[in-house]
């Protein structure tokens, strides 16, 4: 009889921090740029250069530690990790092994949000440590030449190492999304998997259900999207299961995922595991982490998502499902709060954000932090609709302009003459004109075909350029038809 297995996953997540300058020199951290233009003697490993620690990195690391309920170390101590690779100009990486800046934290993930019984699970964080990124290699098609770009060399990274608390692709996705939300709320990284500012290595093992001891794990690298992560986890679980069922043994190794082929291959096995010969970095004296620094950072922590969710539900009386979507990004939640505060109509603001805004963001590929319209203008638009001054079709069109150009909706509606036509007398003339032009429909109506009224409403609206209040049009039409009868 076949065993039932469970998958056990721990993640190593690397996040590139959005500090202005690199971790050990004054070069810019901006993404891209012409190769080797954001380099100096320090980050290109020239002889005689020394690292100087950028303490903005420390602030970011502590903020993340606080947001993940971690213990913060009393001293910053770095270690050297020694290995030879051409993307690493010193052939060692300055990292933290022995005394990571944050330890023993956790994040809470929610799974099954769409179901009746969503689950909250605590994922423990073993440690968060600071280190420097390496450069990038470009391999020529001919396979003979490789070029290296050191622009990324020395960009600050936080590595977030989880305990093996994750049970499958869904939880991994939820964990990564939660981490990303926390980090983006803190504003310390943009966390883009595609650009590599967030990277995840998956440590995965399987074991028969009920067994306590962990199985032998593999480490999966090169996962550049949520889709790749999901595929890789599924494929690796199956691969390990097939090995065990076939009486084999899983080898502890590092594997590389090939998303195109949908399969992974071995990079290096335990036998040739590198000995990184870690030792304390002698060029960087310890930096004391003062109580004052931690308190200052604690005070400046923004309201994090779980608290925000709770407050939005209570304060604005919105459904949890809507609030979850409103709070995914801090900027988005802020936009909601600002606009709702101005127009005192949270439900309407929420609707605009969760329908038209999300749709347009998706269509145009705009991120929440790149939204251009002001909350005041959104509030104005809501006020225009609730006052009945524009109808919903016009409102949608105005919103699209707002989304694109942040127009002032009141001025725009006025200048374009988009307000609902509420002048009864003028509208009555228009209705009479439509009736005289559509004798057939009038006859149909009078013969009892109620459907004809819809056609007449449409014709009138068309004649009015869509600005009339359709309910008023219908009312006038019925009145006039009865007068004609």
């Amino acid at each position: 009889m076949a065993n039932v297995y469970e998958t056990v996953i721990g993640l190593e997540v690397h996040v590139e921090l959005s500090t202005k300058t690199k971790i050990f020199c004054g070069c810019s951290t901006a993404f891209g740029g012409k190769p080797n233009t954001r380099v100096c003697p320090v980050c290109s490993g020239m002889p005689g250069t020394l690292p100087v620690f950028n303490e903005a990195v420390l602030d970011h690391a502590i903020s993340l530690g606080l947001a993940t309920h971690s213990e913060i170390a009393k001293e910053v101590l770095f270690d050297r990790k020694n290995y030879f690779y051409p993307d690493n100009p010193q052939n060692y990486q300055i990292s933290q092994l022995y005394h990571p800046i944050c330890q023993n934290g956790y994040v809470e993930i929610r799974t099954g949000e769409e179901t009746q019984a969503p689950l909250v699970k605590r994922i423990r964080i073993h440690d968060i440590h600071m280190e420097e990124d390496a450069g990038k290699l470009f391999h020529d098609e001919d396979g003979r030449t490789s070029l290296v770009d050191f622009n990324r060399s020395g960009v600050p990274l936080l590595e977030i190492v989880s305990e093996p608390d994750l049970a499958g692709a869904e939880e991994v996705k939820a964990y990564l999304e939660e981490l990303r939300t926390i980090i983006r709320y803190l504003g310390i990284s943009d966390c883009k998997l595609q650009e590599g500012s967030m990277r995840a290595d998956v440590n995965l093992s399987i074991r028969p259900l009920g067994q306590k001891e962990l199985g032998t794990r593999t480490e999966m690298k090169n996962l550049n999207s949520f889709r790749a992560i999901t595929h890789a986890i599924e494929a690796e679980s199956v691969r390990q299961k097939e090995i065990l069922e076939g009486g084999g043994e899983v080898i502890m190794e590092t594997r590389r995922w090939d998303e195109e082929k949908g399969t992974s291959f071995s990079m290096r096995s335990k036998e040739d595991t590198r000995d990184y010969r870690y030792f304390p970095e002698p060029d960087l004296p310890p930096v004391t982490v003062s109580k004052e620094r931690i308190e200052r950072l604690e005070r400046s922590l923004p309201e994090m998502r779980p608290e925000k969710i709770e407050r939005f539900v209570k304060e604005y009386g919105l459904p949890v499902k809507d609030v979850l979507n409103l709070t995914k990004e801090r900027e988005f939640a802020q936009l909601f709060e600002d606009a709702a505060g101005l127009c005192k109509n949270p439900k309407k603001v929420s609707n605009w954000l969760l329908t038209d805004t999300l749709r347009l963001m998706r269509e145009r590929g705009v991120d929440a932090d790149k939204l251009r319209f002001s909350p005041a203008h959104l509030a104005d638009l809501v006020n225009l609709t609730t006052a009945g001054r524009i109808n919903s079709t016009v409102a949608s069109a105005v919103f699209e302009k707002l989304f694109e150009e942040d127009i002032d909706p009141v001025a725009y509606v006025r200048s374009m003459g988009l307000e609902i036509v509420t002048d009864d007398k003028k509208l009555r003339e228009s209705v009479l004109k439509i009736l005289s032009e559509n004798k057939e429909a009038v006859a149909d109506y009078q013969a009892g075909k109620q459907k004809a009224i819809g056609f007449l409403v449409g014709q009138t609206m068309k004649a009015e350029g869509g600005k009339a209040d359709p309910n008023l049009v219908r009312k006038l039409l019925v009145e006039c038809l009865e007068e004609l009868a």
Binding site: M46, P89, R277
Partner: protein, 504 residues
């Protein structure tokens, strides 16, 4: 005239240049004439930059002529150890690996020296990457002792010591990780000073062992060493381990005597390794200090026997990492073997195997070993613990003594080639110098007496971290007491000319 010029100290020289009693071009003539005469047999320099030096000299002279004061080292010809980056000049570290390497930036000390008006005449020969006690492991050949060409100059700052001793330069920079300034200074009969760890910025010094490396002055006398230290020392925001000097060291405060000063001699340094001559001179130095009013006694420091083992464990470990960047990839030597061009690891291995010399490779391998999994705790961590114990022993000692006194080396300069026969013996000979590096102390090597062949003995004065000022004051007094023996002036050029007698 040239001889008279060369017998001036750096402080005297710069004063006369600034007073326009001497023109810089005459100084450079004298220096390059000496280099012309002696360099062939000495091998003190790897690069001599006469053109650059002349340009610097002309620029300084023009500034002087329009009434500017270019600084306290105005017009002083200096030799720079070849592991200190000078923009535009090759910085080889005495290695085939960096034979063609030209740095794109000035070391912090070079910046400070430029601002003080010093002239860089060239880069000096050294043990490869600073690894050697006798100045014999350079890819460019051994540097010889100007006092006796059959003897070593001492290492690793061999060329810097030889250049000053031979009158090829008025001042030099060396670097001292385990005695590399003090040992060659002692063997060549000049003053060498290792500042407290952090007094001088290491930015631009090609690292050997980061936690012990310090750039230090090499000079004809204590006053010049103090002047040079004053110029190069200082906190540098680009070196996180730099602290600068606690107190200004120049001009040296003249003391009349040493009454109230307590000086200790670690008894562990008076054991079997010490030659009779060295012991005798050390005793004479102690007597001279007593004559000046100091209380001198021997005491038990502790851990003297562990210093060399701890030092080589730590230094080798750090060098294995610091030298990893030399891989033939970005700069430096790359193997010419076509078979290596298509295989990354073969290219790396072969470039490093061919680019580094024996001693460097030995230390990289030892260092890799003591850091590797399963050995790190037993070797590296234990060595760090010993280092801490030694530091604590010194802290206790400095509660009782203002300064410590000891030898620099067990004897005078040994014959060329002897170190290659017994590697361990060379390591062991560092036992008097490495403790200062392990503990971050300041220490000065002062010529004191000579053997029957005129080879100088070096004695060492050690001060607690940050106590440069007091150390230099005592050293200046002891130096004056040592002078009647007269070997010193012989060390840097024969006497003669109209300025005779005015120096020192």
């Amino acid at each position: 005239m040239a001889k008279a010029l060369l017998s001036l100290s750096a402080a005297q020289l710069s004063e006369r240049i600034r007073n326009k009693e001497i023109r810089i071009t005459d100084v450079l003539d004298a220096v390059f004439e000496t280099i012309q005469k002696r360099e062939q047999e000495l091998g003190a320099f790897i690069t001599v930059d006469e053109k650059g030096a002349r340009e610097q000299g002309d620029a300084l002279q023009r500034r002087l002529d329009v009434g500017e004061d270019p600084g306290p080292l105005c017009g002083v010809p200096m030799a720079i150890k070849d592991n200190i980056c000078v923009k535009g000049l090759p910085t080889t570290c005495g290695s085939r690996m960096l034979k063609e390497f030209v740095p794109t930036y000035d070391a912090e000390v070079i910046k400070r020296l430029r601002e003080a008006g010093a002239i860089f005449i060239g880069k000096t020969n050294m043990d490869e990457f600073g690894m050697g006690s006798y100045g014999e492991t350079s890819f460019f050949g051994a540097c010889k002792n100007p006092l006796d060409l059959t003897k070593v100059a001492g290492g690793s700052s061999a060329g810097s010591a030889a250049a000053v001793a031979a009158g090829e330069a008025f001042l030099a920079l060396g670097s001292d990780t385990g005695g590399s300034v003090r040992t060659p200074a002692a063997f060549c009969g000049i003053v060498g000073f290792k500042p407290s760890y952090g007094a001088v910025s290491r930015r631009g010094l090609v690292a050997y062992a980061s936690s012990m490396d310090q750039i230090g002055p090499m000079a004809k006398n204590v006053e010049d060493a103090a002047l040079l230290l004053q110029v190069i020392a200082g906190e540098d925001p680009m070196d996180a381990t730099s602290r600068g000097l606690k107190e200004s060291v120049w001009p040296i405060q003249n003391r009349c005597d040493l009454s109230g000063i307590r000086i200790g001699i670690p008894s562990g340094w008076l054991q079997d390794q010490l030659s009779g001559g060295m012991r005798q001179n050390l005793e004479q130095a102690a007597a001279a200090l007593r004559d000046l009013g100091a209380a001198v006694e021997t005491f038990d420091l502790g851990y003297e026997d562990l210093a060399v083992a701890a030092y080589y464990t730590i230094a080798d470990a750090q060098c294995s990492s610091n030298l990893a960047r030399f891989d033939g990839m970005k700069y430096g030597y790359r193997t010419q073997d076509p078979a290596a061009s298509s295989d990354l690891h073969r290219m790396l291995k072969q470039s490093r195997s061919e680019g580094f010399g024996r001693e460097v490779k030995r230390r990289i391998m030892l260092g890799g070993f003591v850091l590797s999994e399963g050995y790190y705790e037993a070797y590296y961590l234990r060595a760090l613990k010993v280092c801490r114990l030694i530091r604590e022993a010194f802290t206790r000692a400095f509660e009782h003594y203002d300064l410590l006194l000891g030898p620099v080396s067990g004897d005078v300069a040994p014959p060329l080639g002897a170190s290659f026969l017994d590697n361990l013996k060379m390591y062991e000979s560092d036992c008097y110098t490495v403790p200062a590096n392990l503990a971050g102390l300041c220490a000065l090597s002062l010529p004191f007496g000579a053997n029957e062949n005129g080879l100088p003995y070096g004695i060492q004065l050690l001060g607690d971290t940050g106590c440069e000022k007091g150390l230099l004051e005592v050293a200046a007094l002891l130096e004056a007491a040592a002078l009647p023996d007269g070997y010193q002036q012989a060390a840097y050029g024969e006497k003669g000319g109209d300025l005779n007698g005015e120096c020192l």
